[in-house]
């Protein structure tokens, strides 16, 4: 394992921690996009280029855009309320870095050796071919989930329009 891999992993954990700890929701959304970018870099390095492209375009792009939209639509807190909330927020989140550090250090010291021995399977290197040859049910599931999502959003937004008008 190269040093750069561990550096990327550390950056991934650090950006996730920053995402949770930062006060502003907008900064949290940016931190989430940064976490996705770090994960995508790791995927590229571990020979998963298709998944990396999806992670970059969908998670770092689309989901971040969705978060920015919802943060913009909803009303931000007033400066006075932000000051009021800051103390309570610090109280709730102050243990997180310590817990994350302790969990990380303890697990690094433990060092469990994991051996994955799976039954032999004809390895297909092309993801597109693999999806169509072995995972058709997954594709069907994806289509059904997408349709459910679309109908769900239509119903929710219709409700909002009715209540607003």
């Amino acid at each position: 394992m190269a040093v750069i891999d561990e550096l990327i992993l550390f950056m991934l954990a650090a950006s996730a921690l920053w995402t949770v700890m930062t006060r502003s929701l907008l900064r949290s959304a940016i931190g989430l996009a940064l976490t996705s970018v770090m994960l995508a870099i790791l995927m590229f390095r571990l020979n998963n280029p298709f998944a990396a492209v999806f992670e970059l375009s969908v998670c770092a792009g689309l989901i971040s855009a969705l978060f920015f939209c919802i943060i913009t639509i909803t009303e931000p807190l007033t400066p006075e309320k932000v000051r009021e909330e800051a103390g309570a927020r610090f109280g709730r989140f102050r243990y997180l870095p310590v817990i994350a550090l302790i969990v990380g250090l303890v697990l690094r010291i433990l060092t469990v050796k994991i051996d994955i021995k799976l039954p032999a399977l004809a390895e297909i290197t092309d993801v597109r071919h693999f999806l169509w040859a072995y995972r058709q049910i997954d594709l069907l599931g994806q289509i059904i989930i997408l349709l459910c999502g679309v109908f769900g959003i239509v119903v929710l937004l219709k409700e909002i329009r009715k209540k607003g008008g």
């Binding site: 394992m1 561990e6 992993l9 991934l12 954990a13 996730a16 921690l17 949770v20 929701l25 949290s28 989430l32 976490t35 996705s36 994960l39 790791l42 571990l46 020979n47 998963n48 998944a51 992670e55 969908v58 998670c59 689309l62 989901i63 969705l66 978060f67 939209c69 919802i70 943060i71 639509i73 909803t74 009303e75 709730r92 997180l96 994350a100 969990v103 990380g104 697990l107 060092t111 050796k113 994991i114 994955i116 390895e123 297909i124 290197t125 092309d126 993801v127 071919h129 999806l131 072995y134 995972r135 599931g141 989930i145 997408l146 999502g149 769900g152 959003i153 929710l156 209540k163 607003g164």
Partner: protein
Amino acid sequence: MHLLWIFCVYMIVLFVIGFYCILATLNIVRALIGIEILMKAVTLFIIIAGYASGRTSLSQSLVITLIVIETVLIAVAMGIVLSIYKHTKSLDTKNLTNLKG
């Protein structure tokens, strides 16, 4: 140190961060961000498993499925958050007391 274990350590740390965020926050959008971080931990685990077993095509197909599910989940959750905001004018979970009692 074993390669796979180092990745697993960071995966567990990510999981702890996401789980703590969901438990500690009172903001709905931040809870969604916590769910996203949990999803990142699961994605990392699938990638590690695929890399260790040498079946990257299988892991990639699973990750693509996971990303689709993640996107739909977040989109629908955003709709629900928007609906809650229209009703309560707040993103605080303390104000969601309509079904209380």
